[in-house]
Amino acid sequence: MRSVELRQLFLGAALVYLAVAIGFAQQGHPLTGTWSGDWGATPAQRNQVTLVLSWDGKQVSGIMNPGPDSVQLSSVYLDPTTWTVRIEADAKDGSGKPAHISAEGRLDDISSYHRKLSGTWKQGTTNGDFKLTRD
């Protein structure tokens, strides 16, 4: 491939990257959107999690794992002074017994559309961590 073509290819790739980056700037309320990731007690034991969050001007509401087994989040709280987030929900464990979920994490990479939310996750008696990325 000639150098001119390589240069054009590089330029094209760079512009595609820019076009993608354009749409990925953070806008609106930082929690609004769909978040995907997992939680678990160890790196080897992970459970997939999807959160769908929305902001109505007064509070954040949302559901976990949308679908037939979805769980309504009982509270979601954002502290914008530290970008920390607390999430509470009442779910069921694998045997169908009630298991309260309490998660506390921190928003990172806020200016990105695909910002991160990670921290500690307690479900029932199991303690672990979680990592979510906004889709």
């Binding site: 806008q27 609106g28 309320h29 806020i110």
Partner: protein, 368 residues
């Protein structure tokens, strides 16, 4: 040549800039460069000259020196042939942040003549043309465009950013809406805590995340503060007014004046300019705008909004040369109450909006 608006110490930014001057260049540092010009990039949005600079170790490095927008440069007397490849120049300027070999020129001196071929200096705003009544249609309604048989467009705004109109002292900021004191954020608008945190985050990052600097449309009030002006085209027979924008990517917005109800359906696609429905109240055009997406900043400086954003714009033309713009911002998900701001915009007579495209020289601006 350059329009500079200076507020406070060290907060200078070219008023025409769309590239995020503060995010790109460090105006607290200086750089002096000397060497032959190797390339001239004379296109929008920013003209560059490239200079081979030899350091003390006899190593040559090629610097990209930004000299401004070519349309502004032409108005200031610079021509495409003012400097030529091979001319040795001395450049005094602001270096880019980081390690890029890039600078924003404050002055360029031609070595062989000693002539200063370029100086970044404050320019007085063009004097307003002689006062005249606002033009009107035969039925007496105000015309927002040129008088019959004339040319012209709306140019410079009297404010750098949208702030709540209060009786307090002006809020110091540069031409990009970057506050001199971040503690003034509370005075800009009645933001909810999360919105204030986002606003301050954007300010602290020197507005580098601004979608407008990546050529996304300037929806909301910002479209009336961009470089290169705008124009109204009133298509009365079609019941609509087109707003043609000279900045950004030269796109347009439609204001419907055909009597349709304001607002839009819940399932309508959310857009950068929203859905605009206008009606005349005596000599004022009142426009109701809803249906915004969240993918843009609606004002210089990084004020946030949500899809709940509802604007009420009021346009009036007290005389030929003046457009009064007032907007009430109602977004209960972002602000604690509705608030109002605005500015005046000056008529540029006998001229057309010139061609300007945001990313015409993306290769130099972004890829380097």
């Amino acid at each position: 040549m350059f329009k500079l608006v200076a507020f406070g110490l060290g907060l200078l930014a070219p008023a025409w800039a769309q590239d995020g001057f503060s995010a790109t260049y460090d105006n607290t540092r200086q750089v002096k460069l000397k060497g032959p010009i190797t390339r001239i990039d004379w296109v929008n949005p920013h003209a560059y000259v490239f200079v081979n600079v030899m350091d003390a170790n006899k190593t040559i490095a090629n610097w990209a020196v930004q000299i401004g927008n070519p349309l502004d440069l032409e108005r200031g007397g610079w021509k495409r042939s003012t400097v030529k490849i091979g001319d040795v120049v001395s450049v005094d300027g602001y270096p880019a942040r980081g390690d890029a070999l890039q600078a924003f020129a404050k002055s360029v001196v031609l070595a062989r003549t000693g002539a200063k071929v370029f100086t970044m200096a404050a320019t007085k705003r063009t004097a307003a043309p002689a006062a005249a009544p606002a033009p009107r249609w035969p039925d007496g309604q105000i015309r927002l465009g040129p008088p019959p048989g004339k040319k012209g467009y709306w140019g410079a705004a009297s404010a750098n950013a949208l702030v709540e109109r209060t009786s307090g002292a002006p809020i110091p900021m540069n031409s990009e809406g970057l506050l001199t004191n971040i503690s003034d954020a509370d005075r800009v608008a009645p933001m909810q805590p999360w919105a204030k945190a986002i606003y301050e985050y954007r300010q602290r990052r020197l507005l580098q995340d601004d979608p407008f600097t990546r050529c996304l449309p300037p929806g909301g009030p910002r479209q009336f503060q961009t470089p290169h002006g705008f124009q109204f085209v009133e298509q009365r027979e079609l019941g609509r007014i087109l707003v043609l924008l000279g900045g950004g990517d030269r796109n347009w917005r439609v204001i419907y004046t055909d009597g349709r109800p304001a607002g839009q359906g819940d399932d309508a696609v959310l857009t950068y300019y929203g859905t605009s429905v206008g009606k005349w109240e005596k000599d004022t055009l009142v426009v109701d705008v809803t249906g915004f997406n969240e993918r843009f900043w609606f004002a210089n400086g990084g004020l946030p909004h949500t899809e709940a954003l509802h604007l009420t714009e009021r346009f009036s033309r007290p005389d030929l040369n003046t457009l009064k713009y007032e907007v009430t911002v109602d977004d209960p998900r972002t602000y604690t109450r509705p608030w109002t701001g605005g500015w005046n915009i000056q008529w540029v007579p006998d001229q057309d909006i010139q061609e300007y495209f945001c990313e015409e020289n993306a290769e130099t601006t972004f890829v380097r």
